[in-house]
Symmetry: C2
Subunit: 295 residues, 2 copies
């Protein structure tokens, strides 16, 4: 696992360097929103989605520079979603990744605008010829990313999660909500490599299965960390799901049941990687990490 952490951190560093070059700068009075974008996108973070895009892409021999740009675009979308989800009118969080949230560090207007601009930048990065020589593949990336992050994906999932009354939610409802809210973008991360390269259809299906199970397990362990973890490890407020009336896997399955379910899903996720043998070791390590992480 020590080696895995090193690889994860190396990917995170490379994505941060790429993002630093891609994020806009200005001497004008609009610099405030650009600083807020940097604060959100370059701050600490595990960069799991970029990592998945890079490592799945390497498995199918996609070009490194292309992968890095897609990884940067993914992190822009993730950072935008965190900024907007943290707003007072949404989850109203003051702490994220161990620091003040954007609307606390700056102000609400700047936070809304920084999120908007990061989302816009993500599409700008993908559309640029540097991302891939083929415009058709760039358009496919944009099509898939917009589907994963729009009203049928991440935004729709957050809308469902904002519902007032969740007393009648069952496991199917929560699963669908989480598939949209966090699963769709994780799935997109694993699609990047296949879109950028000429890989067999079976690889796409294997990654799809891997991402599906990993994404759900990731959310379940997130719920477990909210109950069992510390703010220091997670870098955000814990014990908040219960107080906000959030419907969670832990709430329905209990701590023991949720942990068992996460273990089953991780085993299943790794099974999808069998066709790749030893070459997929780092992705198996990532799956194990999701289960054992403390933040």
């Amino acid at each position: 696992m020590a080696n895995f952490i090193a690889v994860l951190e190396e990917a995170a560093d490379r994505v941060t360097v790429a993002l630093d070059a891609l994020l806009p700068r200005s001497d004008g009075p609009e610099t405030r929103v650009m600083e807020a974008m940097r604060y959100a996108a370059l701050g600490p973070g595990k960069r799991i989605r970029p990592f998945l895009a890079i490592e799945c892409g390497r498995l199918v021999n996609a070009e490194e520079r292309s992968l890095l740009r897609c990884a940067a675009a993914l992190e822009c979308v993730h950072a935008y979603s965190l900024i907007h989800d943290d707003l007072p009118c949404m989850d109203d969080d003051d702490v994220r990744r161990g620091r003040a949230t954007v609307h606390r560090e700056y102000d609400e207007a700047t936070a809304v605008l920084a999120g908007d601009a990061l989302l816009t930048l993500a599409f700008e990065i993908l559309a640029h010829p540097d991302t891939h020589g083929s415009a058709a593949r760039r358009c496919e990336l944009i099509t898939r990313m917009s589907a994963a992050s729009g009203a049928r994906g991440m935004v729709g999932g957050q809308m469902i999660d904002m519902a007032d009354d969740k007393s009648d939610w069952d496991i199917a409802t929560i699963t669908r909500m989480q598939r949209m809210k966090t699963g769709a973008l994780i799935s997109f991360a694993t699609e990047v490599g296949p879109i950028l390269s000429d890989c067999d259809a079976f690889v796409r299906r294997a990654f799809e299965g891997f991402a599906h199970d990993l994404g759900l397990a990731f959310q379940i362990t997130d719920d477990l960390l909210d109950v069992e973890g510390s703010s220091q490890d997670t870098g955000k407020r814990t014990r908040k799901d219960d107080s906000q009336g959030k419907a969670t896997f832990v709430g329905i399955l209990g701590v023991e049941g949720a942990r068992n379910q996460a273990e089953r899903l991780i085993a299943q996720a790794k099974d999808h990687l069998d066709p790749f043998g030893e070459r997929a070791k780092i992705l198996r390590d990532a799956a194990d990490y999701v289960l054992t992480r403390r933040g």
Copy 2:
């Protein structure tokens, strides 16, 4: 002018029909955000940007279906910007286009999410093969639209406009802010046709000059309507610029000076259309309309 209004309304109707088909629907609990997207994008509105995209596109013989899709994407971006600009943390407006703003009709969280999803949908529409057979041209549309709407364009302009102290603003500062905040998207509207068709470079430059002058004139008349217009005609709160300490053209040039400047800009905008002769009559009418409109 009666004929122009008819053409403008016909374009608006066609864009509304296209948008209705492109906006997502669902039976699930995420339907709330989709309803808010429809409320914002399908509500009343002049649809000036879509009109410009369609008419400039016709002048260069771009395909109608492509133009209509780009016009719909433009209206999504415009609607998203209005939703977010109206939020309590921004301009805090209760009325827009003669109806309750999205956060008043729904709630703030839904308004943030509906804006996010409309922005995302705009890119999804542009990237789709139905927009244009050539993926390279779709990527160019996305590149230009993201530049016009991101931190260097519309979002950056709104950030500047949110500045607390504008006492030392001069005409250059206001002009730059408005170029970013509203001018960039109006310019993009006139670029759509040239991107979709094989037109001469001089056409691009002519449209660029036309859009530049028209965009500034549009903002000046907007400022004039805030001072002289009625809420009933404009469909939004008036006399708000002064009360919010907004820096406006009228504030610096005075009513008479602002009106003269708008007239000069409109004359200049029409000069750019000279090479097109009678074929550009509808665009000249649009320029005159910007000057005489009451809402």
